[in-house]
Symmetry: C2
């Protein structure tokens, strides 16, 4: 991951790019290009606002559970009590994975990347789902409900297997967040931890046309089945410019090591960044991981919500040092560069405090974002068309094949 | 597949759409939007021209083998004799798949869709490739060379397994096209057949920003590994608006049944089409499969090239009736609607004449298009950025969460 070129995410707030992109085509990023209408989510990057189906993320995080948020994303409205109970019952019933899938997962070498294994797992699940090929909207929704339960089951089962432990069966009496921690650790989480995880799931559930959701829509544009669309999304989420970014935060925390060293570490990094050339500044070793965002020009609203919760959980698990390091580094980055943390900054701290290995973080992201993927896939399948842009050809012209012997 | 909504592909030549799309956003298709610069391929839909790296598809199909075309797509130039021999040796050496992958494939139920199984197979291959996570360009190219050999091996092995036959080991003394037919049938193809298949591979090798290649680029934009990008592409190719379209041609040929019935069948279909309403015309049962194309407004140049070859092979295999049906139906569609065949029309006829089951056609497409996917992935990894467009929000605004008990 450290060899990844760096995208747009580290532009300090208040600063604009000196070298403006001439056109989306030249950049090849579709940045700021409207790709399609959507009624699922909108982001105001300047105001730092994230809206799911008309509700602010602050309101949802404070007053709704992840299950209610999933229902909202899929149905367009929050459920009433009866609807919610029926939905939760259906979700809980779909959590188990077929035994043959466990057999497949056992065959995969322990060092395979967890998100690569999840990608394979979701692809394989299709072969054991009798409705896998159905394009009927009711069948698609039923598959979505199963996948929302099965994705975390694959993640947790595989995480235990590679450590030589037996998978823990899902429980149908726990929330999605609590059940995930149960399957991962074989131990029911306390209320504070379960709540923090539930909020983390809500914050990661959806984020407009991020690269992996857009990949899911490109797939859905060909009118392909749900599992195929989900596989395209998982494959795309794995990249370090996207879902893979949060592992870097842990590298930073571990490099700092203790709160006493945090301020010096942060000031050194700031100094090296400020005295570096424009090109050098793109290097991972000069950047503040988990700071800045491609869309948000101010605080990522999700970071503000998770900040307190992550610190509380760290404190409760005797890992308060993580919170201390994070706040010291954040303050130096804010003062020196006007940079603000994004959601990865605090979700990484939260998961680290819970003892979750950092290479699982993106799989947790995938678990929550499955909610958003389904909403985008259904929207694209329903009204959308084939997504097929054009290229701006920059290659050679008018060549003629010379016979092989004369080349 | 017959339930698929219909895209843009059946606009008769010379006719324009009466209802113009107001904007790409409204359509959600990115149609005619320039997404990125590319030096790989360009299409002139009006003139009916397809160009790989500056060479016309007619020139390449007539004077270069598939292996030379792959080298061209990846390197930018055609190989000389020495370069070609070395390349062919490396490709041939990479054709075997690990035994454990065969074990995985054997576990998958026989009725799973072949392209879904290929998607799983490519995803699983990553776990057994020691360089799967490497982003080094040299390692990526080596993986690409292996995948180009392994994809057809998976397709053929799986096709035999589901019929209860043993997979046939790849040979390193055959061309990619001949080796594929060898692995599929356990019998070396004659020269005419091997040549037709080689040309079909060349014609399907690349097609600018088609949906699956674009999906591969969206994945690559996150700086993810080659296998992940390939999986995103395979998942997207499966859709009936994209790679899955050629199976419909076989349904048509089988429905017609014999050359004697072809003209009546075609005139009936034409009559029903002409007397139908605009909405009804979108129904698959009123359309001419394999006719028209989203980008080409005249003959698909690939169809012209394949027409003669496909008919020759059909004749040679005692399946000349397929060619007769196809020509009769084509003539009626051209005279009545100004429609021209696309590449699927004749590749379907070719594969059908060879006795290949129609649900394998898209996997053959994937085998050839792997060449183009790799070129697009490498181009995006090298210079491209995160592909992340924006949505045009059309949903509700300013809602507030009402407590569950009051909903």
């Amino acid at each position: 991951m450290t060899s990844a070129p760096v995208g747009q995410t580290q532009i300090p707030a208040g600063q604009t790019q000196t070298q403006k992109t001439p056109s989306p085509a030249a950049a090849g990023s579709l940045k700021d290009v409207i790709a399609a209408p959507t009624a699922i989510c909108t982001i105001d990057g300047v105001a730092g606002r994230l809206i799911y189906r008309g509700y602010s993320i602050e309101d949802l995080a404070a007053h709704a559970t992840f299950e209610e948020v999933v229902y909202l994303l899929w149905e367009g409205d929050l459920p009433n009590k009866q609807q919610l109970e029926a939905f939760k019952t259906r979700l809980a019933a779909g959590r188990a994975i077929p035994k043959v899938l466990v057999d497949h997962l056992r065959m995969v070498p322990p060092d395979a990347h967890p998100l690569a294994v999840l990608r394979s797992g979701v692809s394989l699940l299709a072969h054991y789902d009798p409705a896998a090929e159905s394009m009927d909207p009711v069948a698609t929704r039923a598959k979505a409900e199963r996948l929302l339960g099965q994705v975390p089951t694959i993640v947790a089962a595989r995480a235990r297997m590679r450590e030589g432990k037996q998978p823990v069966e899902p429980r149908d009496d726990l929330s999605a967040a609590a059940n995930f921690l149960w399957m991962l650790f074989g131990k029911e989480p306390d209320d504070v931890t379960a709540h923090a995880m539930d909020v983390a799931f809500t914050l990661h559930a959806e984020h407009e046309f991020n690269a992996s959701s857009f990949a899911a829509r490109v797939a859905a544009g060909t009118y392909v089945d749900l599992h195929s669309c989900m596989v395209a999304a998982m494959a795309t989420l794995k990249g370090p410019r996207h879902g893979g970014a949060n592992e870097d935060v842990i590298e930073m925390i571990e490099e700092v090591g203790s709160p006493a060293r945090a301020e010096k570490w942060a000031r050194d990094r700031l100094q090296r960044y400020l005295s570096a050339s424009r090109e050098e500044r793109a290097k991972p070793e000069l950047r503040f991981p988990g700071m800045g965002h491609a869309v948000y020009k101010t605080w990522d609203p999700r970071a503000r919500i998770l900040q307190k919760l992550a610190h509380e959980v760290a404190e409760q698990h005797g890992e308060g040092w993580i919170a201390e390091i994070q706040e010291t580094v954040r303050t130096v980055a804010a003062e020196g560069l006007g940079l603000n943390p994004n959601v990865d900054y605090y979700s990484a701290g939260l998961y680290h405090a819970l003892g979750i290995p950092s290479d699982l973080f993106t799989s947790i992201f995938a678990t929550a974002r499955t909610a958003g993927y389904v909403a985008h896939i259904e929207e694209q399948l329903k009204g959308g068309r084939l997504i097929r842009p054009r290229g701006e050809y920059t290659g050679p012209k008018d060549r003629q094949v010379v016979p092989l012997a004369q080349r």
